[in-house]
Amino acid sequence: MAEEYEMEEGTEYESRSQWQRMWLRFKRHTLGQVGGVLVLLICIIVFLANFLAPYNYSTQHRDYAHAPPTKIHFMEDGHLTWPYVYATKKDYNEYYEMVYTEDKSKKYPIKFFVKGEEYSFWGLFKSKIHFFGTGTMEAPIFLFGTDTFGRDLFSRTLWGGWISLLIGPFALITTLIIAIPIGLLSGYFGGWVDMLVQRITEVVMAFPKLPLWLALAMIVQGLPSAYRFFFIVGVFSLVDWTGLSRTLRGLVLSAREEDYAMAAKAAGAGPGRIMFRHILPNTTTYLVVVSTLSIPTWIISEASISYLGLGIKEPQTSWGLLLSQANNLESITSYPWLLIPGVFIVITVLAFNFLGDGIRDAADPFTTVGGK
């Protein structure tokens, strides 16, 4: 009988760690992969924002306030040609309202790697090369139109993306820093420590998040705009640690009684060592899943708070703040392109939701991915 279990010569024996098996399951989750690729793509776009955008995000083109998106023409006399744009000129319609029309007298072909405004690439080096543009200010190209001050919405949207992308990871790290020790302590020691911590947690949990965030964001109103990002992160994690630490406490409560924790205790390990070296690593799968699933909510919350004017402030920009220019019916109907940044929020949140779903299914050892 023993021979049957022997491996054939040359067959490689594979042992897979938990993470390798997770990765294998993730690779069969199409939606999760689509999400992952999308997130990566958005990261690359935002990272290259200065280069991809034809103008700097704060440059004001005073002559082109509220200019609609520039039309890109591909056809010329019924033939396909190199894409070109026309210059935009101001005109008056029959009601004597100012409208922008195309000046069809001259064509401006779109050029790639064109010289334009100087920008600093994440403070590393300075450059004037932009990915695309017309190369001349006679015919500027505004893919998404402009805002009240004539700032190019496309450039601003790309630049504003970093807030949405980074708010998740940063809020996550600070939340974990608060939630992990509290959850561990409360679960491991039990008794009056647990009692006290849980009552405090319940008080914080009793408040709905958005109104409380708004009240907290109001407190940090006066701070300089450069630091606001970090204050929003702080405000989020001050409210959001409760759910995570509660579940962690539950996990620790049961893990404390398990053999490996008992063995560590019998071997003379102190509570700190048992908590951080033995119990915590056993909860990582859960933490990873919860983390990826909570990132989308933070992105939406940041957008909401910035939309209300309590989040990111000028001269910085974020997608929520960009949307706040469309805060009345008149601007929505007259300048509908101001809504475009919202589409980016939806796509980013969607991508993170897909990714989170994939990771959750991959982390569950009982799922059969695809189901077929």
Binding site: F207, P208, L212, L323, V346
Partner: protein, 306 residues
């Protein structure tokens, strides 16, 4: 805590004299320390049922937060709940019973999108759709709850309902309900689908089917009753999203709810209104949790609380 208080704005105003500010400070009790102010506020609530006084409206807090708002807030909240659960449960069941069909994929994808749209952005899109797409004229109106002319009119003329006003009201309610309810709807659809799938493969469902019961009976009598539990818990939690999510939608759509009064108070640093507002929201949440507990015990006799 908060840098500045209600009077900070007034200090910037050159038309208001120093003496007047000092006098107001004493009137409003802002010269006293924070713990004392807090104690006075608590004392008022418990001894006199007095929730405080709005600095900016010169009125008691309750009338600023609730008068003419509480009714609408509750009505809109209930409509949103109705919208969410009336649609999500059937869609979830349909999606689960047609697993991996094209319609199921459509529902799953739609639910993902619904989850990913921020409330306020959906509200903005609906506004744009109504204004530009439907070209809604001044007769129907966009935003708020009524067109101007209906504002002062009564709901009933004697015993006859004032139909133009009521239809106009509902015309203004639906964008709000859709904007607030869509995310919850998508969430419940996903939850319902997952739950149904989980219980459809359980042995009790197989047994029921093997006994020769009709598919619909198995689904609705056996699987559904078991699958619904987390949805009921979720129902309690949805009070939470109703409060948070509707705040920003109410601001975008200009609907007079309690949340919007809270937002105005926040901007004015009207501290007692803010406090009562937060307390009210927390209370709503607890009521929701309690309701969920009752409903759970009612649906599932196995659940008992000590």
């Amino acid at each position: 805590m908060i840098p500045g208080n209600y009077l900070t704005e007034h200090k910037m105003d050159p038309t208001i004299s120093r003496e007047r500010i000092q006098q107001q400070k004493e009137n409003l009790g802002l010269d006293r320390s924070l713990p004392i102010r807090y104690w006075k506020w608590i004392e008022g609530i418990f001894t006199r049922g007095d929730f405080g006084y709005s600095f900016s409206h010169y009125q008691p807090v309750s009338s600023v937060l609730f008068e003419g708002r509480l009714g609408y807030t509750i009505f809109l909240g209930l409509s949103t709940l109705l919208f969410t659960y009336l649609f999500s449960i059937p869609i979830g069941i349909y999606s689960a019973t047609h697993q991996y069909a094209a319609s199921d994929h459509l529902v799953t994808f739609g639910a993902f999108i619904g989850l990913s749209i921020p409330n306020f952005f959906l509200a903005l899109i609906l506004l744009y759709f109504m204004a530009a797409g439907l070209n809604v004229g001044p007769n129907l109106g966009i935003g708020g709850l009524f067109v101007q002319k209906f504002m002062g009119q009564p709901w009933f003329n004697g015993y006859v309902p004032n139909m133009p006003k009521i239809t106009n009201f509902f015309w203004h309610v639906w964008p709000y309900v859709v904007a607030v309810g869509t995310a919850a709807l998508a969430g419940v659809v996903r939850l319902m689908r997952g739950q149904m799938l989980e219980f459809m493969n359980r042995q009790f469902a197989q047994t029921a089917r093997a006994k020769g019961l009709k598919d619909t009976t198995v689904i609705y009598k056996h699987v559904f009753r078991n699958a619904i539990n987390p949805i009921i818990t979720n129902f309690g939690y949805s009070f939470r999203t109703l409060v948070s999510g509707s705040l920003i939608t109410a601001i975008v759509l200009g609907v007079p709810t309690v949340q919007r009064a809270y937002w105005t108070a926040l901007n004015k640093q009207d501290e007692q209104v803010i406090m009562v507002g937060l307390t009210f929201f927390a209370l709503m949440l607890l009521v929701g949790n309690l309701l969920a507990d009752f409903l759970l015990a009612w649906n599932d006799p196995r659940i008992r609380y000590d």
